[in-house]
Symmetry: C2
């Protein structure tokens, strides 16, 4: 993993959140989201301080008691690290999280607005939420990062995602020489999608990101979009021949590296008895073929169109009715946002409609499992003949990288062209246009009837790719990009760096 570094991870969600267990004992519960798995590995090899929002009441107590200092903790993977929880003012946090980050930035970056009607920034109070929620919460993160930096001046500050676009500029202003890295885990859309936000917000987002030494994206596509929007929105200059832009005297290098998984961790999880219990149930009830999708119930995941595609496939292939089920393991998501609540209802309605249409003794067309159950999902990974990923837009899509490693049936990956993963796994999968229901129906049939040797080669190619481009590759690559970028500028980034030529 290279040499041990000091890293200050800054992300909205931390690796754990605390609850009261039996007898009021504090218990750490693993935080949600793939980010935690991805970043948790860092602490095994590096000296990590993690700054995150206090989520639960117990988190807030801990934040209070620690008087603004990071506390020594140990991760599930056995790694020691320091955790610093920030107890935000609840109404500011609500505006930051439930108005600005979700749904506004999420919808904007996935280009999901119904523009005739949305966004309605006046009704949602977006600008107030930006000023009174997003900005002060970012300032609190920046303040904490600066304090940690003052204790470890050589540390890398590693910002994560769309919750923290303003923090880097605030840190840069007061720590001009600090090593700042930011990874954007969701798509970076084309300029027209950004234009739906008030200019004040769009400019500040770009300006904030451009305070970093390195900004990372999953794909060259998102990176190209950033290069274009940074020029248009912030007046940044592209550095000819390089994936870098300069702005306000700073050069920002732009990485394109898709995040990945830890194959060993997945391998251990596959052996979990709860996975095997689910798998037994699936094996007992499954028909000949299983098409599997595993997603949060997010409108960006395109679940309703997926059901229509499966319906069309069944209509076109009556000989396969009764022989294929679409097992849909869907984690209910953000149900406090009306658009998400409506979308979950649409999913249920559509599944019911399709199931009623094709009703048959002992067979359900769409097996809808709406629950947050990672063990069930892994069991489904093992059992799929076709893995179906048709997202409208997706920063990467880790399911596409993860499931083939667990699969035991040489299953075929159907993968939306608008996922970041498609840039890596395109050659080993059936590409689909997420808006083209007919193409998706065709792809399902094609996948189910594909020659065994091709299926086997493809899944082995995916496994080889992911094993080579695993989580360690991703994080080491980013650290290398950071050192490289700073060394080329003659900054004291990596103390061991030899080449310190000017840019």
């Amino acid at each position: 993993m290279g040499k041990r570094r000091e890293i200050i991870i800054v992300s909205n969600r931390g690796p754990v959140t605390y609850q009261r267990g039996p007898e009021q004992v504090r218990e750490a519960k693993r935080g949600g989201g793939g980010l935690v798995t991805a970043l948790g590995g860092l602490a095994l090899h590096h000296d990590v301080t993690w700054i995150a929002s206090a989520m639960s009441d117990v988190d807030r107590e801990i934040a209070e008691e620690s008087h603004g200092r990071a506390v020594e903790e140990r991760l599930e993977n056995g790694a020691d690290y320091r955790l610093r929880l920030l107890a935000h003012e609840p109404s500011a946090y609500d505006q930051y999280y439930n108005v600005v980050a979700n749904p506004t930035l999420w919808f904007t970056q996935h280009c999901l607005w119904d523009l005739v009607r949305e966004p309605d920034s006046e009704r949602s109070g977006l600008v107030e939420a930006w000023r009174n929620g997003y900005a002060p919460i970012n300032a609190a993160f920046a303040e904490a990062a600066l304090e940690e930096l003052s204790r470890r001046p050589e540390a890398i500050v590693f910002f994560n995602d769309y919750h923290l676009y303003l923090a880097p500029r605030l840190v840069r202003t007061r720590a001009p020489g600090a090593a700042l890295l930011h990874f954007v885990h969701i798509p970076w859309p084309q300029l027209n999608c950004w234009r739906v936000l008030p200019e004040e917000i769009t400019v500040a987002i770009h300006d904030g990101l451009l305070a970093n030494d390195v900004v990372g994206f999953h794909t060259t596509r998102w990176r190209s979009n950033f290069i274009q929007s940074a020029q248009s929105v912030a007046g940044a200059k592209r550095i000819s021949g390089k994936a870098a832009v300069s702005h306000a005297g700073t050069t920002t290098c732009l990485s394109a590296r898709g995040i990945s998984i830890d194959p060993d961790e997945l391998a251990a999880l596959v052996e979990d008895p709860r996975v095997q219990e689910h798998e037994r149930r699936i094996i007992e009830t499954r028909p000949e073929f299983l098409v599997v999708r595993v997603d949060r119930t997010d409108p960006s995941k395109n679940i309703v169109r997926g059901f229509r595609a499966f319906e069309l496939f069944l209509e076109q292939h009556p000989e396969l009715q009764g022989r294929v089920t679409m097992l849909s393991c869907l984690d209910p998501s953000r149900l406090n946002i009306p658009e998400y609540e409506n979308y979950l209802e649409a999913i249920q309605r559509e599944a019911q409609r399709v199931n009623e249409r094709f009703q048959q003794q002992g067979w359900t067309a769409i097996d809808l499992q709406i629950e947050d159950d990672v063990h069930q999902s892994i069991a489904a990974y093992k059992q799929y003949d076709v893995l179906f990923v048709n997202a409208i837009s997706d920063g990467l899509n880790l399911v596409a990288k993860e499931a083939p490693l667990a699969n035991e049936r040489d299953g075929v990956l159907i993968l939306s062209e608008n996922t970041g993963a498609h840039e890596e796994l395109g050659p080993f999968s059936l590409a689909i246009d997420p808006f083209d229901v007919r193409a998706q129906a065709l792809a399902i049939y094609e996948a189910l009837t594909m020659r065994a040797d091709v299926r086997k080669r493809w899944i082995e190619d995916i496994r080889a790719w992911v094993s080579e481009h695993d989580l360690a590759w991703w994080i080491n690559g980013l650290l290398h990009d950071l050192d490289d970028c700073r060394a080329r500028r003659g900054e004291p980034g990596d103390p061991s760096a030899k080449a310190k030529t000017g840019a």
Copy 2:
């Protein structure tokens, strides 16, 4: 106007459509849309053959009787020309017009889809409509253009708009040396908006356009988007340092010229007694200030957000309640398309809501005039203090160029940044973000309280700009671009062209 040229205009709608009048006499009625005014002027100075779809039953009779030949006609402006009407098979025309062109291409190029739900190309039968409607209708247009070209081999074929993307390639294949010009009157969006259509369609659209010598757009913004999408979608190569791309051995030059108006024709219309009648009514009933909008009831026009902005403005300025009315002259549009029907209902609902909220003796906040009445619109042009154009996306927006020439109150133009006109009139207007209701409310107040000398200078600057960049400038510019592009390639475009250096 330069020398007289032979021009074959190809557009879906012709300059006239025929109806039976009293005693069954055929009467020509001027066709709808700004295109007719724009292109009708061409016949005054050039030898014009116009190919268009037969719209009415009488049009179809004429098409039948003329046995595939163009018929001598005279336009309202006194110009002689030849008209060739094409009687299409009705169900093919329906698919071409009501499935492909509107709403699919219109919505796609204005980026208006609610992508979580639309487009649903499977349910709309888009691919069938493309193959069985759009393609054969385009082939019929191409066939007619080739026949006219065989009679006038030196003629320029001038295709118009999004109904005819396939025709140029069909003509080019059989007339490799022909001079082909295409103007796209609506926005050319960024690539992500194109990606919602099946690849078969997107590729064919780009390939068709790239068969032209010159493709024209209203703005450099739409042109840049085309340069990008032509490279990505069709594999065209950008010609370094030039606004041109090459594809399949052809070089296509790309013009950016905003269409305009004929100031003399507008001046004559302003004097029409029907305009003056409307103006008297407006003067009798108007309050101190009038904010005017003139639009089709198209979702792209952003009428509902405009009403919310006006509501917010009234809320923020109670002192102006009773003193300002938003006169909205709205031409009901495409009501056979459900999305348009719903949008008209939303407009009516929103106006009623705002009016009920601010109800006052003798004053209506929003004066909603839903009818197709050009004379009323011109009267409103004369009387506005603020002209309000907040389109979500608009190829150009001719109202912004036309109304200031008729206005008699030094009215201020508020103009959406997403209109093509903004690229020309931005310096003489208040720019607004069409998604930012608050900014629009602020702009209304700012416009109403602007210093008289600034208002006067701005409207005079607009008039000077439009007078210099009028319709003749637009069409002569396009013809010049065509000659220039062909001359640089050494093609026999303009017989008088001296410089025939190779590219």
